[in-house]
Amino acid sequence: MAQDLTTLTGQTYKYGFVTDIESESVAAGLSEDVIRLISAKKQEPEWLLAWRLKAYRHWLTMTEPEWAHVHYTKPNYNEIVYYSAPKPKKPKYASMDEVDPELLRTFEKLGVPIHEQATLAGVAVDVVFDSVSVTTTYKDRLAKEGIIFCSFSEAVQEHPELIKKYLGSVVPPSDNFFAALNSAVFTDGSFVFIPKGVKCPMDLSTYFRINNKESGQFERTLIVAEEGATVSYLEGCTAPQFDTNQLHAAVVELIALDHADIKYSTVQNWYAGDEKGVGGIFNFVTKRGLCKGIKSKISWTQVETGSAITWKYPSCILLGDDSVGEFYSVALTNHYQQADTGTKMIHLGRNTKSTIISKGIAAGKSSNAYRGLVRVSPKAQGARNFSQCDSMLIGSLSSANTFPYLEVKNPSAKVEHEATTSKIGEDQIFYLQQRGINPEEAISMIINGFCKEVFRELPMEFAVEATKLLSLKLENSVG
């Protein structure tokens, strides 16, 4: 039994392959010239270049944050390739058939449905490969509803007024070290705009893939839901297996106007490094949603299983009266992975509500921390928060930490936080074994039960994937 618990070993990372494709990249290093080059390659308007340069100059004055409960060698920002793109055979693809078949095969291998006719799922996908968006599906159908769903570069060209209005309005370039870096060098990402009163007829999805060994990925996602609009957005990510650490510093901004509803789901499966802790992605991401309008709602759901280091706090600024923020998270770490993740709920409007459900699972020699902030400002009359953070430890060399910050400045607020840490009970496994379930399955069942509250928030396909992913990741680490 004890042996069962310890002999299960890590499943290899099945997305670890490299696509052999001709790519075009700029030399490693960061300077104003590199930024100018990226901007020129993307044929950006002058104001955006100025915006990037301002962010870069601010970034130079900042120091890399050290407060997170993670340990790593800081990346050398001058050894990173800031722009890498698969070399297109033509400047622009007229249809899917013109896309490099090698590239299509990559995404087929990853299980991403980019062939519209071949997919039954009915999910529109924007596919980002290294620094650029490769293709976006179902654009025409979405356009009929007035929905804009395209790559960020395309949006800059075609909807500059929207980008200018909303870019940096939730995460200003000076927000933090990684957001400033991203603002200076971001290369692509997705843009979603749901006009007034429109309920997006299908889930929208972006799939991010890092392929180049030296490159970092700095994408930017911006989602705007106008009055009464609703949208569900999914994000997935993988990277090949390299023994170097690659940096992923993304920024996601969500804006919900009156009565709008945005649901943002992530299954993060970047390469996590091998069982000795070599390689893997540094995932330093700034995600923030602004509930700007009354009765607006933003819901974050994340399943974090990959990355060598995760530093990520999807947050909600509850500005509109009666707005709602939600955060559901499962963070799994194994081997030498380190995660410091959580959320911030900033209550500014009246009768705002927030819910935080966080489940951390730490196996191997990994470390898993929940860090969260609930702040009720003096004017947030009637604010309400409930947080629950549970951790599960598998193996005596893993660690779990909880750092909740509760700051209340209004006497009508109700804030509750609870956290527990435990391990899988031998009696629970024994019970399941008695019923003819092998220990590995038993553990998988227990873990799934532990995460159920979060999984049920995920869209169907993601929930199935997440469940599978979790059991794969834990294979051979539990006994």
Partner: protein, 414 residues
Amino acid sequence: MVTSLASFFPVALLKAQACSPWRSLQQQDQLAWASMPFPTLRDEDWKYFDLRPLQEAMYTLPSSIQAPLSSQVEPTVLRLYWNQGQLQPPIIIPKGITLRPLAPVVRSSSRLDQDYFFRMNQAFFPEAYELRVQKNFQGKEPIYLENILEGSTQNVALAFSRLHIVVESGAEVQIVERFNGSGRYHFISVVTVEIEKEARMNFERLHFDSSESFHFSYLQAKVGRESYLGVRTVGLGSRLRRDIPDICLDEAASLGLDGLCLLTDEQVGDTHSFIHHAHPRAQSRQLHKCIAQDHSKGIFNGQILVALNAQQTDAQQQSRNLILGDHASIDTKPQLEIYADDVKCAHGATIGQLDPDELFYLQSRGFSESAAKGLLLFAFASDLLERIQVPTLQRVLKQEIINRLHVGSLGELS
């Protein structure tokens, strides 16, 4: 802006009054302390605690006062008085207890060495004593440690006290530490406790400081194998108060760490606790309650660290807060750091108000609104007061709480 330390602390006077047997050790601490930057809101440990009132104060040393006559009538085995931070040597010391100056020895380094005010106490305490409870001593009545500080109306009198308590194996003792004061002063008190194996100590700490005072009180304890430490801290006074219990548990030790903080006006009440489960099978229970009225601010920062080999740790922490004043605020930060897998750890924190249903129920039974509120607040506090192990003290405290809850007449209660 880096604030120069010497500008508002009377460093020269402090150096002059430092403890002579400790001179060389204290000189080292003075150097270390002088190199520490004065904490600001940017420091994680002082994030919620604004120290600017210290910088604005005019510091001086306390003037000596007459030892007050003992007016206390509670039964006791021993009562010790510190006036202005100085011990008044007692006439009789009962069998089984010794009191003597603390021999100057280099302390093993601890995390509190990084604490600005702990280091300051270490560098400048004018005297240090050791209170030793001998092997198998059984105290039926408590030992009282009475601290009296008289500040002035203008300047802030800066005082330090230092006491080391040893509870030898098999002993059982009850200690009451009480702070009373008037006027403006800043008291930095340090009590270090060493409990050997299979011993028990109950420690009641009552802070009745003056409403203009600053009081930073440190309790550093090591609880030995299969020993027990129970601490109840009731904070009622002080303009700025910070309580810093720092407790390390040996194998199968157990700890009860409770705190009640009642805040009014502009008071700031901060509890900064650290519980270190360093060895297996130890148990800790922490309950902290805070009522913040008016413009006051309640802070709780409770860290529990479970070391790698501390298997079968059982740790529970609760922070319960009532925020009642329109301008009151509560900042709470429970913290669990766990490096062992076979553990049961939980923490909870709530911030809220009195339940309107409960208020309505009482009002429907004929209580006035203010009496109903008073009753509920008293009930909230009583939960903690009832854990106090000295009955006479419990009665005094309950009365004190009733007086301080100024939420209308509580006559209906009696």
